[in-house]
Amino acid sequence: MQMSSRMKNILTPIIAVLLGVLVGTIIMIASGYNAITAYQALWNGAFGDIYFIGEVIRQTIPYILAGLAVAFAFKTGLFNIGVEGQLLMGWVAAIWVGVSFDLPKIIHLPLAVLAAGVAGALWAFIPGYLKARFRVHEVIVTIMLNHTALYITNQIIRSVLSDGKERTDMIADSASLRSVFLEGITDYSRMHWGITIAIICAIIMWFILEKTTTGFELRAVGFNEHASQYAGMNVKRNIILSMVISGIFAGLAGAMEGLGTFGYMAVKGGFTGVGFDGIAVALLGGNTAIGVVLAALLFGGLKVGALNMPLEAGVPNELVDIIIALIIIFVASSYIIRWFIDRVSKKGVK
């Protein structure tokens, strides 16, 4: 029986995750920990309690948006490594609006979210424009802009949003995504309304890419610039547009952290890592909207569940980072897994 490519696309990340877990087990046993208790602790820490489930979803929200940002760019032939920087810009913009105004919620919250999207879009416009106009590779520009964004946001926090302090004030309630209702049903976790925004964005990404004329052009340019130009598409405009849309998703991821989870922004010594994890989420999710949502849930679960591993099983949570890293390696080497599936399914024929 020949396996359909759709089936292969689903099977590949699952096998990658299982392999990651398997190698993680070996490492744990080799370092003298009980792997079974460790995984139990991981599970309990992620799904063992309604509170943890709420936290997992909370963690999943920025992962979905960061993953969408990477996936959208990737589907249109661009590699947006700058999600982290666009996220930081979005975060600071959301907080700025959140602390500066006092407006009715119906205006204030959308305005703060919008500001984050615009900030992310502008930050992504730079590499998009440079690529379209001067053929500067977007990877280099976005990496550099990550660092630029980190220090700019730190500076804004210190000198604009506070008087030399290390963090901003809390945003006004009218700009907050926090939900008494969602907190209530999850035993006072920090789960917030951002999950609806993230899901809507996933649907929007799918719709733009698969259903609209714009998406048809964006994907065509990503696959073959020459043929797109021949077909009368504006290649430069599409490259910029792709980066800008990707940047909006990234900026919104920042808004989720700022308006939902934290309510403020603090000076950072280093990156949040969410933007980079977004690359792994997109990869694991096969750059599809539904795949990104599922992969983000997995990453959220691992990240939150890991906090329980030192408490319940005495395993350092660095080990969870190792397992996540292993999963990424196996996903990245998905060609090997595909090749393996091909072999196995071919053997089945004989």
Partner: protein, 511 residues
């Protein structure tokens, strides 16, 4: 010991699809043996089996009488089998010598001994009459010379049996002549050659015997001196094929394309089109004959808006379209079958259906207020697929998965269906077999008969002579002559293409 290579009853399957079914090919020592078949007939698969890239499910391979198992290309190399691929496997930034020794470097104390290697390369190239400069960089030498480097590579590895995969597809007429000379030298030096091709003329000219395969099955082997092109073509296609496409005389109408004093620079900034004048009337096919690199690409790109021109004018239906964006030009009534179907003609990762609307996807009914209507798109695609005989498993198949001939039919279907006043066909039959060529020529003539103007650019003189109503010869970015195909000969065209201006023709070229 009569045969140097025997491939007996070879069968090769790819997940249910039989690419080679019971094919036998026997190569005598010192002969040039053609392997003839349509695109997708299984020629390359068979040769890849011989070269060790694929393992056959059934069958036996004998080299010099001994049964062998060729598990990978290194084994093939050791057995003295060398392959010159259609798409060259060369490192552009390396020199000729570096490419030739790659993987088999001569070393002296762990360091590559380039001097000895160069001498060796020079020796081999002199012996076989393969003129190359061992120190030249690949990126700086012509396609014909690159091919000679590929040949040297196999000889350097001690090959006695050389497989050529469509070697003339990328060559100019002059280079083809040189290659045929090289074949003769190789045979004289005791080599044997398998020539994969679907060009009947070449087979008749250089080959001793020919093995024909059709749809994966071996049809048989015949001696070339006992056959003729017509018989070979029907053996290959499985039905009678017309070489000369029948056509009535043209009845040219109004002028639809008018190019005046056009100047265009190429990508390196060199003047490629130097004040070119040309006019095209409705209801005629104007062939542009010329050796590759005389400005044909730049001319087409300037007309279609893909390249900015320096100056001059290009008028379509009396409207100047020079330097308008490609879409604006397309919409004035221009269809374009591009020279490179993979680079420009198709988005290979799009389905064949999506490719069918590549020029019209933004128009109704395929797109309505920014949302695509895929049902309408695939309905359209189904129609075009059946109308233009595109052989594809379905309209949802990726364009990548189709054979070259079917990809080309899809492009032609798409462009003709838009009903353009002018159809530009650049190398429309490059790399295609006689069946597909016949189909495409018929379609071009059909367009003409419907009162459309066709601009045909081709490096194949046969095609130009056969299809055109008028022939314009391009040389170094200028039209140097306009001739009537009924009154000219290939020799005369060849001379004009090489730059020797016909006495009077140079004068009335500015038509």
């Amino acid at each position: 010991m009569e045969y140097v290579i025997e491939m007996l009853n070879i069968r090769k399957e790819f997940s249910g699809f039989v690419a080679n079914d019971n094919i036998t090919l026997q190569l005598k020592k010192g002969e040039i043996h053609a392997l003839l078949g349509e695109n997708g007939a299984g020629k390359s698969t068979l040769m890849n089996v011989l070269f060790g890239l694929y393992q056959p499910e059934k069958g036996e391979i004998k080299v010099k009488g001994e049964t062998v198992k060729i598990t990978d290309p290194n084994v093939a190399n050791d057995l003295g089998i060398g392959m010159v691929h259609q798409h060259f496997m060369l490192v552009d930034t390396f020199t000729v010598t570096e490419n030739i020794i790659l993987g088999k470097e001569t070393t002296k104390g762990g360091v590559i001994d380039i001097k000895t290697a160069e001498d060796e390369v020079r020796k081999i190239s002199e012996r076989y009459g393969l003129a190359v400069d061992p120190q030249a960089k690949i990126s700086n030498i012509s396609v014909g010379m690159q091919q000679r480097v590929e040949i040297l590579k196999t000889l350097y590895r001690g090959a006695d049996i050389l497989i050529f995969d469509e070697p003339t597809a990328v060559l100019t007429p002059q280079e083809i002549k040189e290659l045929i000379q090289i074949f003769k030298t190789l045979i004289k030096e005791g080599k044997s050659i398998i020539l994969i091709t679907h060009k009947l003329k070449e087979i008749m000219e250089v080959c001793d015997r020919v093995t024909v395969i059709r749809k994966g099955k071996g049809i048989g082997t015949v001696n070339v001196n006992e056959t003729n092109p017509t018989d070979l073509a029907s053996l290959m296609v499985g039905r009678d094929v017309e070489f000369k496409t029948e056509k009535i005389d043209a009845t040219p109408g109004v002028e639809v394309l008018e190019i005046e004093n056009l100047k265009v620079k190429d990508s390196r900034g060199v003047q490629a089109i130097k004040g070119l004048n040309l006019s095209l009337r409705a209801g005629e096919i104007l062939g542009i004959a010329g050796v590759d690199g005389n400005g044909q690409t730049e001319l087409i790109e300037a007309i279609t808006g893909l390249r900015k021109a320096e100056s001059g004018s290009v008028k379509i239906n009396r409207k100047n379209v020079l330097n308008l964006p490609p879409r604006k030009v397309t919409e004035t009534g221009l269809g374009h079958i591009p020279q490179d179907r993979h680079k420009h003609g198709l988005v290979l990762n799009y389905t064949i259906g999506e490719n069918m609307v590549l020029q019209t996807y933004y128009q109704k009914p395929f797109s309505k207020s920014g949302v695509m209507n895929f049902k309408k798109i695939y309905d359209k695609a189904r129609n075009l697929i059946s109308e233009f005989d595109v052989r594809t498993p379905s309209e949802y198949t990726l364009a990548r998965a189709l054979s070259g001939g079917n990809q080309q039919k899809a492009i032609i279907g798409r462009e003709i269906d838009r009903n353009p006043d002018i159809l530009i066909a650049a190398q429309p039959t490059r790399g295609l077999d006689v069946g597909a060529i016949e189909f495409i020529h018929k379609r071009l003539i059909e367009q003409r008969d419907q009162g459309k103007a066709v601009l045909l650019v081709s490096f194949e003189l046969d095609e130009i002579m056969n299809v055109s109503d008028r022939i314009a010869v391009i040389y170094e970015g200028e039209i140097v002559a306009i001739v009537d195909p009924k009154e000219t000969t290939e020799q005369e065209l060849g001379l004009l293409m090489a730059g020797s201006k016909k006495k009077e023709a140079g004068e009335d070229a500015n038509v």
